[in-house]
Amino acid sequence: MNHHPAAWGRPLPASASFDMYNPQFSAPKAAPAHQMPVAHTQQPLVTGTSVLGIKFDGGVMLAADNLASYGSLARFKDIERLHPLGPHTVIAAAGDMSDFQWLKKELNAILREEQALSLTDSHPSLSPSNIYDFLANLFYARRSKMNPVWNAVLVGGWDRVKAETFLGYVDLLGTTYSAPTLATGFGAHIAQPLLREAFEAKAGTDGKGPLMTQQEATAVLDDCMKVLFYRDARSMNKYQIATVTKDGVVISDSKSSETQWGFAEDLRGYGAQTQ
């Protein structure tokens, strides 16, 4: 069977027998470009793993580690996956890092133009929800063209007009949702329950109670990043936390969790062992 796209829909004649050493079958002539099916990104290449977000009293926090993997190889260890946009918004991206770099460039250009126009028009700067809606439209439009922006993005920010926090999720399918705690990818399985548990312990399941303090939010994110480092093979014990309050955006220096690996001594069944 010849799986090359140029040979799609062209079965071999009944008389022909498949010969992988025959160039006619093994290396079909490339069809002219206009006859080829259009193939956009089919998989991400250099990827970042999950990112987390949580609301606290007076602000919102995002966390992401500094690793960009090339497949299972820990390829780049100093990548910043938290990116500030204007004075009161931060985005955090999981997924394809080159798409994320492109996204940053696009968004920065938009914000720069808005900034330039604000001198003459004196309009309010883009709010976190404006940026989020833009991303949602972009991601949905791109996936509808079968050419997705291969990221899951968290948008966190402080809305100056409404004087409230914002936290939203949008991914490569154009899926959007908002919640007081969010996590992408593997973090949605591992960290989201921990985030919810901590959030609901104070705020209640309806979220109407008091929100956690900034210190408590930092602590639960530290805890989640540690658990993710233990459980997620694509993660790294070096991460940053972005905090957005009405006073603006602060992105922390990279930090690490204290980890215990003593138990690994007794593990059997992985790696080189003599017994």
């Binding site: 460039k105 330039a116 126009l117 003459t120």
Partner: protein, 282 residues
């Protein structure tokens, strides 16, 4: 005007027999009728200032600004047709964004001015269009330091240490020469005071002129000068303009931003005081 076009001024794609483009010269007339715009390169930054003549008391305070931001580090002030200025500003922002997209670096003021001037020049080549009725001051700070350029309706552009365009530019240029002659140069904060002083001085001289000009023809401008000086003493006329100033300096984080309101107010106060003092001497 010494020589009216005699048929050679109908299209910008036709030279006059002595090699002039009358439409471009008429465009310069549109600039000369507009409120003055000033650019001043200082030791530690650069300033743009315009005197916005207010044609109605119903205008929103601070609206219809004539200084625009082009990029983070570049601003431009126009003198002439405001709508032409807006259009050129939009084009300049596109050029600056295009440069960033291509080279992933901020555009230098010179390169940006070159691109804008090319655009302006194209409007002097075709019979189907009219030249821009504006002179543009492009000011910014890039890797080469603070830079100032002036683009004229013909598309020609020069770099300056200080420049003034619009009505009263000759007066302003004389003042700027004095400012630049100061020993040790002039800082942006001093520059703001100086520009406010010369703009307020010009405006109180020119604002009534603008009003009287609109009632009369340009030929009578000599008479209007006399009229203007009389009108300066009319208290209402002092409110017929707004001062608009932006800068790029350390204090603004090397970004193009409006001069802080308190500093501008202080500069205006000083300018007014100096002006009144000057009048009493007269």
């Amino acid at each position: 005007m010494s020589s009216i076009g005699t048929g050679y001024d109908l299209s910008v794609s036709t030279y006059s027999p002595d090699g002039r483009l009358f439409q471009v010269e008429y465009a310069n007339k549109a600039v000369e009728a507009a409120g003055v715009a000033v650019g001043l390169r200082c030791t530690d930054g650069i300033i743009l200032g315009v005197e916005r003549l207010l044609h109605s008391k119903l205008l929103v305070k601070g609206a219809n600004r004539r200084i625009q931001s082009v990029d983070e580090h570049i601003g431009m002030a126009t003198a002439g047709l405001l709508a032409d200025g807006k259009h050129l500003g939009s084009r300049a922002r596109d050029e600056a964004a295009n440069f960033r997209e291509t080279y992933n670096a901020p555009v230098t003021v010179q390169v940006l001015s070159d691109r804008i001037s090319g655009y302006v020049q194209a409007y002097t080549c075709y019979g189907s269009v009219r030249p821009f009725g504006i002179s543009t001051l492009v000011a910014g700070a890039d890797k080469t330091g603070p830079r100032l350029f002036c683009i004229e309706p013909s598309g020609v552009f020069y770099g300056y240490r200080a420049c003034a365009v619009g009505k009263g530019r000759a007066l302003a240029r004389t003042e700027l020469e004095k400012v630049l002659a100061k020993e040790g140069g002039v800082s942006v904060r001093e520059g703001v005071m100086e520009v406010a002083r010369m703009l307020s001085g010009l405006a109180s001289y020119l604002a009534p002129l603008a009003i009287s000009l609109s009632r009369s023809t340009a030929v009578e401008s000599v008479k209007n000068d006399v009229l203007a000086i009389h009108l300066v003493h009319d208290d209402n006329q002092d409110k017929a303009f707004e001062l608009e100033m932006t800068w790029v300096c350390e204090e603004s984080g090397m970004k193009h931003a409006a001069v802080p309101a308190d500093l501008l107010a202080e500069a205006e106060e000083k300018a007014k005081a100096a002006l009144e003092e000057g009048m009493e001497e007269d």
